[in-house]
């Protein structure tokens, strides 16, 4: 467990213990000192604990481990370890083009305003589908909306390999079209092998540590 989480748990425990004193002996709030203590313990500490806890939970919800904790996502986790550089997700994960401990979030969040909030709302929808309906098979999972090039360009825009790449510049109209999201990076026949979980059992897996 991360040190930060341990610290928050300790703070929650201490706060609960102090509140317990007020619950057991409410008479102490008659004095001035007791009133100040009640204010701190019944208002300030719970707000502090709640804010720190939410911040910690939001950070943890970005981790690869968190996303892969649902059984249905396991093949997607395995697809990050395919030993084939043409697999887009695997190549990004294994070569640290995305942080390995937040790989899913880095590519699947929305890099527009309120993108993180939208990602959390989509996550809540995933929980609803997973627990309260019949979820599709992993190979049948589809994105809610077509993948936007903006998410790729968040890192690749301005990079020499992207801007000066021979294939990207073979047709002078290609790069402007990609940047305007008129030609998709992943569904236009260029980088179309992303997770491809249906064919994972035929693939060789990388055994190393990211």
């Amino acid at each position: 467990m991360p040190f930060e989480t341990t610290l928050i748990i300790a703070l929650l425990f201490i706060s609960a213990a102090l509140i317990g004193v007020i619950v057991a002996r409410p008479g102490i709030t008659v004095t001035r000192g007791g009133k100040i203590m009640a204010f701190l313990v019944l208002l300030v500490l719970p707000i502090l604990c709640g804010a720190m806890g939410i911040s910690s939970e939001l950070e943890r919800s970005k981790t690869t481990k968190f996303c892969l904790s649902c059984h249905i996502m396991e093949p997607y986790g395995q697809s990050l370890r395919v030993d084939d550089p043409s697999y887009l997700a695997a190549a990004h994960f294994q070569n640290h083009r995305v942080p390995a401990d937040s790989a899913c979030y880095t590519c699947h969040t929305n890099y527009a305003m309120f993108g993180s909030v939208k990602a959390k709302m989509a996550g809540l929808r995933h929980i609803y589908i997973y627990y309260l309906t019949t979820p599709p098979a992993p190979e049948n999972i589809k994105l809610h909306e077509p993948y936007n090039n903006r998410e790729c360009l968040h890192c690749h825009l301005g990079a020499r390999s992207f801007e000066e790449g021979a294939v990207h510049n073979a047709d002078p109209e290609l790069l402007p079209a990609v940047k305007a999201n008129k030609v998709s990076c992943i569904s236009s026949g260029c980088h179309e092998v992303v997770h491809n979980v249906a064919t994972l059992n035929k693939m060789k897996m990388w055994k190393g540590q990211p």
Binding site: S15, I19, P46, S56
Partner: protein, 68 residues
């Protein structure tokens, strides 16, 4: 545990109990990094904390001074 007969103290006790329940829920949720614990943290823990704080604030607002 017996609730106090003084209305203000009773409200503070209710507020405290709600807050303890909320904090304990959040504490348990922090042990797991899973979607359900995230949901429980936000919805159950958060709601209990909010309710406890509201009861405390209402109990403070409801105090009547002798001249009133």
């Amino acid at each position: 545990m017996k609730l106090s007969e003084n209305p203000l103290e009773r409200r503070l006790q209710v507020s405290g109990m709600l807050l303890i329940l909320g904090l304990l829920t959040e504490m348990v949720c922090l042990f797991w990094a899973r979607p359900l614990s995230f949901l429980a943290f936000i919805s159950v823990g958060g709601a209990l904390l909010l309710l406890g704080i509201l009861v405390y604030l209402l109990s403070v607002l409801a105090i009547r001074h002798p001249q009133q």
